[in-house]
Amino acid sequence: MKEVKQDNINELEDVSKNDDGYRETGYDSIHKKKITNLDYIYSAIIGVLGGIISSLIPFSLLIKVWYPITGGTQLVSGHHVIWGVIVYGLTKKKENIILTMVTKGVLEFLLGDPWGILILFVNFIEGIFLSSGFYIMEILGEGETKLGWGIAGGIGNFFQAPFFWIINQRWYLHWSLWALAFIFAFISGVLITGLLGRAIKNTLIEAGVPTTY
């Protein structure tokens, strides 16, 4: 799989170098840490896609039928942050995660999210948490493993659960519902954000989507 990705980059670089008439583009800075135009394009496309899908598709309906207790929708909440994982997989730049999540937040705000401008802040913080998750996993030597991506996804998706439960002042609800909601948020982050995001990233690279690292 890595070979496919590398071939793809090498091919683009070869074309760029061998053809004198070929105008160099952002691929010239593929191995640099500087953000390229392609990074911005990925952030814009994936952020907009995430904003539309997160706002307009009621994924929570999938779970309400099977798990009829409040807080159960956290089991599918991981899809909100999966966009940050996909863009990280294609660019390996943590600032791109934040850029993508902010783009997604703007879309959600413009599409009339019930939380208004607050949803932009929530997306920004989720991006920070996800970036931190990947940073911690790299330090622990799990930066490229499924376990590492899963836990990074869990960390990225965890923030919103206590945030919204606290801002909703749900103190009066039973403590077991609080505990379950937070655990579900983390598990959803591991499974949907981290592992599913990693699988989607791999499929995209296999399909020929160029990476920028």
Partner: protein, 182 residues
């Protein structure tokens, strides 16, 4: 690698056990499998505990509120106007002669099947003063409530006490209304 996998299995089993026991505790506290098509009104502020089906609620016996715009506000001060249709809660209380005292001496609270409840008891005189602004909604924007219903309590923000938000009293999957002596 073997040690790493062992730790992963141990962590997974521990999390699984914690979730299992938390679920047992949650399911012992709430009964999410109550008949969704019925609502119960009880409490020491009522003359009797009654359970009413949706077909009875919409039979014409109680006052219906059709396509009324409710102003909803959440705890982040985001506001929206939503059109609901349903049954006036006050008309049910009066028609069934449920109250043991005057409304100003009583308080009410909404409970959902999924374990959610409105934040606290509110004085029942609010409902008497504004009978058309506290309803048991069956339709939102003309569409029958399904997953969120079939009944949902709805209160207009204009009648909420200071510091209370109508969105928190807009309880989905409504199954119980408790009326107690204040």
């Amino acid at each position: 690698m073997k040690t790493r996998n062992f730790y992963m299995i141990v962590a997974s089993v521990l999390i699984g056990l914690i979730i299992f026991w938390l679920l047992m505790i949650a399911f012992s506290q709430f009964n999410p499998f109550n008949d969704p098509n019925k609502i119960t009104i009880d409490g020491n502020g009522t003359t009797k505990s009654i359970t009413i089906s949706i077909s009875q609620l919409t039979s014409g016996k109680y006052e219906m509120v059709e396509d009324k715009i409710f102003h909803i506000k959440n705890s982040f001060d985001t506001e929206s106007d939503i059109t609901y249709s349903g049954i006036s809660l006050w008309s049910i209380l009066v028609e069934e002669n449920l109250l043991v005292q005057s409304s100003s001496d009583l308080e009410f609270r909404f409970y959902a099947r999924d374990g959610y409840s409105s934040p606290k008891f509110l004085n029942l005189s609010i409902i008497e003063a504004f009978p058309n602004l506290v309803i048991l909604a069956t339709k939102e924007n003309g569409v029958p409530l399904t997953i969120e219903g079939p009944l949902r309590s709805v209160m207009d923000q204009s009648i909420m006490p200071e510091g209370e938000y109508s969105s928190q009293y807009s309880v989905q999957q409504l199954s119980l209304i408790t009326i107690n002596i204040a």
